[in-house]
Amino acid sequence: MQLELSPTDADFRMRMREFFTSQVPQEIRDTVLEGRHLTHDQIVESQRVLNAEGLAVPHWPTEWGGQDWTELQRHLWHEEMQRAGVPLPLAFNASMIGPVLAQFGSQEQKKRFLPATANLDIWWSQGFSEPDAGSDLASLRTSAVRDGDDWVVNGQKTWTTLGQYGDWIFTLVRTDPEVKKQAGISMLLIDMTSPGVEVRPIELIDGGHEVNEVWFSDVRVPGDLLVGEPGQGWTIAKFLLGNERVGVAPVGATKRALARLKVEAADQLDDPLVRARVAELENDLLALELTALRVVAHSSDGAPHPASSILKLRGSELQQAVSELALDLAGPASLAARADDDSPQAGWARRAAPTYLNLRKASIYGGSNEVQRQIISRTILGL
């Protein structure tokens, strides 16, 4: 057992830190650090800066732009981005469809999509959840029917995050209604400019437009846009969801949020009860960070460590707890949630309530905390 980073890893970390803080535009990083909303163009710009340096998709195969890093190095890369306020590479591209195509895609699909995906020339959306298929994804009903070489898609997806920016969408569709649930599912790549694709915004309780419904009406999809084999969709989806592990716990971002809060609400740190809440959170975040490092240390390539469920569970709880503290420290100023920038109330205080409300999603999306508890109790504890 040893705490210190090896000289190699310490150098690596320093290199990441220097790059992120010097090459990614300050304005973009400030937007992240202050908890403001990133624009489409900021997200794209940031990812291209990373990609130019080979830092957008390090966990991909080296052939397609990946880096041959250790798990620890990937972790350090991820933490340093959060520390510096660098927007993480778009998850739909970097963590989801990219690895899927690298693993299951045809050589043609790889050539066509992977470079553009790494560079965010294509913005991918995710089309998995449906109104009646959330945690129970296998119940999905969106259908794809063979018509010559094409597939004709009908149905509805929902909770499509940032679908309003999407160029393409990777979807799970039912290609065989006769076989049992999981076996009839396939993955299709769909150009969102195709006739019959409609994206409708869903307004969230923080007033933001972050998720969408996506409707498919007789959308014609060429046959070469099916990933893997027909009926392999469930396998691919499990592979994809397993890859969510990297970056599952936003430790660095939550630490930055708490650190900023200590500065922004510094006058309230005289209150021993406030200090105690901060101290508890800092300690919990340390425990979480250490647990993430332990998971990294024990991960072998590929298979997600079951303890990643712990990271998701605690990570979301602490992210929410910090936002709750911010709300309490903001107090009456938090009412100015939708006031404009001329407001006499501090920006962080105005953002406190929307952020608090928005982050309720953290324990729902990406495998709810109930699902995580189920994984822990079944897979780890054998219950």
């Binding site: 959840s129 009646d132 959330g134 945690s135 129970d136 119940s139 929902t158 909770w159 869903i202 307004e203 969230l204 309780i205 923080d206 007033g207 998720v211 209150d271 009860l273 406030v274 709750e324 709300l327 309490d328 903001a330 107090g331 009456p332 100023a333 938090s334 009412l335 100015a336 949630a337 939708r338 006031a339 404009d340 001329d342 407001s343 006499p344 109330q345 501090a346 205080a349 309530a353 929307p354 608090y356 409300l357 309720r360 999603k361 324990s363 729902i364 999306y365 709810s368 905390n369 109930e370 508890r373």
Partner: protein, 378 residues
């Protein structure tokens, strides 16, 4: 000792519930109403006036109905239940309460009469940017030149401040203490905005704004301001209770109807036990709300201030618990503005941070634990 409503109170509840249900039982209607300024339905405001609801707290001499705190609490609970956006708490209970407590007989008869009749909307401007639930408002200062008073400074958030026909403002007096002033919106700069739950508030900037003292000019009204704040807190807790009742009901309905993995969610014991804990929180909140509301009749400001802290702490905590769990047990759908549950959680937060959050109340109570042996209900 009696924790039940009498027949008249029951009837009041039914009629308010009926009126509000026609308007807001469908959450879409609430959503449409708050989409545009002033953020509430002026016609509903008139109907509430016609039913005597707006005049409930004020004496008959002043054009009101002269009802008691229990009746006002009933109205607030019903407002909370459907998230009715009308500024009852801000305008009638809080601003109206300040006028009733401190105004001259003429001021009361004039303003409360018009308020009760639904002719005007009042707003209390009592908080400066960064202020935290103090009856002093150091961000706004009153000056006297001859017998003309003026105010200078900024108040924010002023709930219902953009729509208000008249502002009831607190300000630091030249010789110390805090006074109350009536200020015409024409003499200030106002910038309206929406809170997270689409309640409306405003930044109000006084810049040598002409002001009419409420009550005797120059008198320190801190004590009265504090009393009315405490009453407003208790009524805010009634409103929060209504929200929480609706959330628990919605959650149980969802658990018994929504299917996952081929069965309804109430098949999952981990969820039903959490619903049970929500219900426990709700019952504790109900007890404290009923109790705090009843303490008002006793008329002792210290008792009411203590009750306001106590109900503020309990309802603050219950509100967090129920509001968060209601969203979690619903899942994604409750994250949307289309669904009342998530918006209710936003409303609970706005009420709490507006009137005094649980940390604030806990700190105040913690400072007093040495002053009594036990805390007794009666």
């Amino acid at each position: 000792m009696d924790f039940t409503y009498d027949d008249e109170q029951q009837a009041l509840r039914e009629s308010v519930r009926g009126l509000l249900a026609t308007a807001y039982a469908d959450h879409d209607a609430r959503r449409r109403t708050v989409a545009d300024d002033p953020g509430f339905d002026e016609k509903m405001w008139s109907r509430l006036a016609e039913m005597g609801i707006l005049g409930l707290p004020f004496s008959e001499a002043d054009g009101g109905v002269g009802a008691g705190p229990v009746e006002i609490g009933i109205v607030c609970q019903e407002i909370g239940r459907v998230l009715a956006p009308e500024p009852y708490l801000a305008s009638v209970v809080h601003a109206g309460g300040l006028v009733a407590a401190c105004g001259t007989p003429e001021q009361k008869a004039d303003m409360l009469g018009r308020l009760s009749a639904g002719e005007i909307v009042l707003a209390a401007a009592d908080t400066s940017p960064g202020g935290r639930w103090s009856s002093a408002n150091d961000g706004v200062r009153a000056s006297l030149d001859g017998d003309a008073w003026t105010l200078t400074g900024v108040a924010d958030p002023v709930v219902a401040g953009a729509r208000a026909d008249l502002l009831v403002a607190t300000a630091a007096l030249p010789d110390g203490g805090t006074g109350l002033f009536l200020v015409s919106p024409d003499d200030v700069q106002r910038t309206g905005y929406a809170t997270a739950d689409l309640t409306r508030a405003a930044t109000v900037t006084f810049d040598g704004s002409a002001a009419t003292p409420l009550g005797t000019p120059g008198r320190d009204l801190s004590a009265s301001i504090a009393i009315i704040s405490d009453l407003t807190r208790i009524m805010g807790a009634n409103q929060a209770l209504g929200v929480m009742q609706a959330q628990v009901r919605a959650t149980t309905a969802y658990l018994t109807s929504r299917k996952q993995f081929g069965v309804t969610l109430n098949t999952f014991q981990a969820l039903t036990f959490r619903a049970a804990d929500m219900y426990v929180s709700l019952e504790m909140a109900q007890s404290m709300v009923d109790w705090a509301t009843m303490t008002i009749a006793g008329g002792d400001p210290a008792v009411v201030a203590d009750a306001a802290d106590r109900v503020g702490l309990t309802v603050g905590r219950s509100g967090r618990h129920i509001g968060q769990e209601a969203i979690q047990l619903h899942g994604g759908i409750a994250m949307t503005a289309e669904y009342a549950v998530g918006v209710g959680t936003a409303h609970l937060e706005v009420l709490e941070q507006w009137l005094g959050n649980r940390s604030h109340h806990l700190s105040r109570l913690a400072a007093r634990v040495g002053e009594h042996e036990t805390v007794d209900a009666v």
